[in-house]
Every structure is written in C-alpha cells, then in structure tokens.
Symmetry: none
Subunit: 403 residues, 2 copies
Amino acid sequence: MKAVLIICDGMADRPVPALGNLTPLEAAEKPTMDLIAREGICGLMYALDPGIPPGSDTAHLALLGYDPYQVYTGRGPFEAAGAGLELRPGDVAFRANYATLDKGGLIIDRRAGRVPPTQRIEDAVRKIKLPVKFLFKNTVGHRAAFVLRGRGLSAAVSDTDPHETGKPVQPCKPLNQTAAARKTAKIVNMFTQKVRKTLANHPENLERASKGIPPANILLLRGAGVVPYLEPIQQKYGISGACVAAAALVKGVCKLAGMEVIEVEGATGNVRTNLKGKIFATIDALQRHDLVLLHIKAFDELSHDRKAQEKKNFIEQVDKHLAELLDKADFLVLAIDHTTPIELGEHSGDAVPVAICGPGVRKDDIQRFDERSCAKGGLGVIRGRDLLPLLLNLMGKLKKFGA
Amino acid sequence: MKAVLIICDGMADRPVPALGNLTPLEAAEKPTMDLIAREGICGLMYALDPGIPPGSDTAHLALLGYDPYQVYTGRGPFEAAGAGLELRPGDVAFRANYATLDKGGLIIDRRAGRVPPTQRIEDAVRKIKLPVKFLFKNTVGHRAAFVLRGRGLSAAVSDTDPHETGKPVQPCKPLNQTAAARKTAKIVNMFTQKVRKTLANHPENLERASKGIPPANILLLRGAGVVPYLEPIQQKYGISGACVAAAALVKGVCKLAGMEVIEVEGATGNVRTNLKGKIFATIDALQRHDLVLLHIKAFDELSHDRKAQEKKNFIEQVDKHLAELLDKADFLVLAIDHTTPIELGEHSGDAVPVAICGPGVRKDDIQRFDERSCAKGGLGVIRGRDLLPLLLNLMGKLKKFGA
C-alpha cells in the first residue's frame, strides 16, 4: 500500500469579500481536489490545538505524528537540516545572515546587499578552527546555517544579531547559569571574531567592494536551538518515506524524521515552481517508499501578499497537476498545514479541510474540498497529529495497542 | 477588536416532556440568539471532557483557557476571590459558615438561623490574633470566607464543620504527615477557639438572642484549598478583560485570571436580576477592555428547581436584552458553561451549543441556537478550553507557535 500526502501550504482561508464572501477554495474550479473529497472521507483539522496559529515547522511535525509541544526547539535546527546539513540530536543550530560591517565595526547592512556570497566565502568560514566541531553552509540568498557539535553545549545563548543597523555585532551571552551556556557563548564569540578576521580582506569581498556590492564581512547569528531527537518514521511506524518540497523548514522536518528529501530542479516554492517536476518526483519516489509527502508552498505566499484572485488561480493550476496522481497511489490524502487568511496576510489558527481517499475509507457525502463543505464530513474534527495514524491505520501499518 | 463572551449558566438542557420533548432553547422564541447563530459559526462544546459534569468554577476556568485539571484546588479560593478578598497564590482559603453553638458546645444550627451577622461581627473576628496573617470577610447570608497567608501552610487539613447538628465543632486535623499540614491544623484550631471566645458574648449575639434569633457564635470551616496561580489573561493572551456577573464563583475565577470584576447594583443571579444594568455595564466595560465576560445565572437555578416553562420564559426575557449588544462589539460569543437538565435538577456532562459571530468567521448554515441545531455547525465539537483561543485567533490576538 502506497500513499501520497499532499500538503498545500496555507491554502485554507476565510471568506473573502473580493470573492463574493467565498474562500479561494470555494471559489476555485478544482475537479481533482473535489474528486478526492467525493471519493474519500472528509473533515476539519487543527494542525496544533484549536485556534492556535501554527508555523510551517510545527504543523509539519504534527502532520508526521510528532507532538510539537514536546519536540520543537525553534526553527534553527529544521532550517539547517533542510539546507542539507547532516545534523545529530544535541547539535546546537543557529540561523546566520551574512552582513556588512563598516571600518568602525558597525553593521551598515544586515543582509550584505542581499547578494549571496559564493562557495569561496563558505569555504573560508569552514576552515576556521574552533574548540569544538562545527558545520557551516550557505543556504538561500544572504542566509546560512551554523551548527556547533560536541559535549556540554547549550542553546540557551543570546543572538549576536542586534536586529538593527548602526550597531556592532552583539556579544553572545549565556541565558542561564550553566557551564554549557557559558561555554557555548564563549565559542560563539570566538567564531564571530574569527569570521571577522577571515572575511575582512577576503578576495571576494575586495571584488564586491570594487563593484559597489556591500562586502559579506561578518555573520550574524540568531535563534539557537538544540536539534531534537525525532524517532524516525521507519522505526515509529515501520514505513519508509520521502519528501518532495522546496521550503527548507519542511525539508528539515522530513529529514529529521528520517525521510528521504528529494531535490527537484526548478522547485522554488513560488507560483512559478516546477509543479510538473514535483509531481513526477512524487510518482518516482512511490517506487521506493510507502509514503511520499508532496508539499506545495505558493498558496501561503499569495495570502501573505493578499492576492485573492491569484490564490484562486494557483489552486486551479495545482489542481490540474494533481490529476496526474489520481491512479498512482493507493491512498491520496489532501491536507493543509494551516489557514492563511488573505485578509490577515499571516497564518491563523482556523481549522483546515482534509480528505483521505483510498480503499476501505468510509466514503461520506461531501462533494467539494473546501473549508465549509468538509466541516460536515465523516472524519469530524481532528488534530494534525491524528492524521498520519488515521492514514496508516487504513494502510494496515499500525499495530494494535493492547491484546 | 472587542468581544463579548456571553455565558448563560446551565441554559442547555435535554428534551423535556412538558415542552413536547423539545429543550427549553428549542421551545423558546429567541430571535437574538438565533441571529448570532445564523450570522456566525456554530458547534457543540464540552466545557471539560465529554460526559463530565462541570462545576461553575471549573467550567469558567476552561472557558478562560485554563486547564481545570491543572489549576483547580477546590471552590474555596474562587469563592473568597469572588467575595472581594485580595488573594495571593499560595494562600489557603476556607469556606466558612456562621453557626450556633449551645452552652454545652454542640451545634444546634449550622446556619445561625440564616440571619446574616453584620459588619460588627466580621470586625470582631478580624481583630483576632493568629501566628500568621489572615483575611476574613462575610459574603452572602450566613456565609463567609477565611484565608490564611504565610509560609509553610497547607490545604491538606480536615473540615471543622461536622456537616450535621448535635455535634461539637470538629478539630481540624492534618491530612498528611507534613509539617505544613500540622501547622495549618494547629492554627485553624486556635482560630476556632478564639472565635468562640470572641463571639460568645458579643453584643450583637446578645441582641440576636433577645429577639429569638440564633446567635452567630461560631464559624465552621470547610473545603480548604490553596489559591492557585493563574497566569493573568493580560500576560497569557495580551488582552485585558472584565467580568459582569453576580455569582461569587464566576467572579472569583475572573478575578484570579486578572480581569476587572464589575459590580452591578441589583445583579442577584436569580430571575429578578438587573439584566438591563448588566447589559449596560457590559457595554460600558467594552470601552476599557478587549473582552467582557457577561454571565447570566438564573437558567441554572430554574433547572435546579425543575421549572421548565419558567426556564423557557427566562430564555425569552434574556434574549430581548441581548439584542442591545448586537452592534456594540466586533465579536459576540454565545456560550453555556454546562447543561443543567430540568429532569435531573443538577449539572450534567452533556454538550452545550456555542456560536461565534464576527468578522472573518466561516459563517455556516445553522439557523437556530439550540442543542440539536448547533450540532451540525461548522465548528464541530470543541472543548471549553478551546473557545478562548478560537475567539482570540479571530481577533488576531494569538501568536504563531513555530515559524
């Protein structure tokens, strides 16, 4: 039995005046999604608790059966894992920005002109020596991930990013009285000094300066988090899984859950993403895995940008591509990680529709996949962490609890 | 964004034969409540867990977003707070009854003839010296609140109230082997002795005796509970709140949750309560607060007294007054703390209907506010502790968990 878990990021919405008080899902022509609803069992879902606006990371943890309130330690570890760093539980991961210091040591650009430094700069940083092992990688744009590994480290340390320009890099301070926090802060400060020394006259920065591009001559760290231990889904449920996604946070959650993260060329997370390539990669991954998580991001971006008509259009565009999946897996689950109301431009804690289609489901009478139709479905109201067990139960993958 | 949370105490019911097997809500003409349902999103709610009959105190804790199973320590602390005592977490609160002892020290009236002692008696009790600080206040009728404050106290002590006449005041006993419980029991017994000495020949008691009124010459204590720490809603949710209620337990929960408790003249908690004044106070409080909790009590009393027609009539009467609120707040939430079936005369664990009306809600197709209509609503089935997060989510007051 094979299943595809389709997660449409932020696709759910509230009634939108510009769409005649329909939600984009209610307004869109989406025969494939409606078919999944019609042939399946539908319901409403809160990724976390009712009313609580979920992040992408916490929502995906829940949708993979973990309790985010137990395992979530901040976005840093998931972003670093999503960027491809091979993390271990206990590592301390930071988010990093390349920035520009003036000669007096004040930050004049927190994003180094948003011009990404190359591999040469990354390599130079990697060659720095610290008293503990560390990992470092450029990610997207001016961003990077920095990870400390070793015994006696702690994530209870402050940011070196002052979060505004005109200030020097902040010293990293321990946030509690433990030796681990003090040690970690000391190592971070050592790293900051060495980065500054290493990058000050790096050839690439001299080139950037000659072209009028702000040099990437410092790294600002923030959001320290300990890499949590997630029991791999292979072990937790006896299934193998893969993830087809562009968003680093989603890839990171899947990676730390022990899933294969499949990179698709042209998968950008925006409306021009390579949908065809992602669908193809999903079908291909079904050859090797029980479960493939297909994540489509741009609904959320369109809501953040408050584009109602474009969100509706993108739903229709995605719907066409999803038709390719209809006969490729035993189970199709159509889910959403959270509502992102266009009127709000941010994640909200409203419920989302969900549908499960496949052999043995108690098909209900719901005809359309949208917020208000699915409210009357046979699944009732579930939590995000219930979804994977419900699917695996149908797939015959769960063991009885009790005798 | 402003909201009124209307809580109609015990308004939900089971089908009543005398009403043609309709519930009072189903039988009543209540255009305002139905309008809130029609314009809003409806559902069913269990204040605690499905089937568990809630108390007024535990239900209101849940409706304000607290977990009663975590924070509830008995009704004493909430009653004392509702009576206006300024409590601190860790205080040990008792419920107290004025009672009448005969000359031999046996209780002959557990309620001192139900004639309330005056301020003079209260003042005399307050002047008693104990090894720790204490608070004392007459509340309603023959009732009072007694609170011990200090280090090393415990609520694990027995009642001094024997709960029947013809017996002496019981010695307070420690209920576990801790020094705190022993110390508390000792102080309580000292208090009992001093109360007896102080009130034996108090002028007011001599007057009462001369009029044939049983003297209020002893205090019986029961229901010791530690005042719990409730994170104030201001801090927990970033909102300010007020409460318009007559019932001491409800006022106490709101007070300990950091809300302003507004006293309304003529608010009695029975069918002759000053509904107009309570509505006016609610509208006035909206000027200063994000959330106003309006509690209306008498439905519950009418169920306890098994008065079906009167309960239906009171629903209709309240409905007329609620019309005044329709344009006064962004959100109206119509809720019930628990079912009180007329046939039972007590709180039950049946679900109650709930409706939320305001901008952005996914209006469903429910036309009437009652137990069976709302069961088909877009909210599905929620718990009491989900209600405030669901409302605050719509008000844009909740922070995202995760990134």
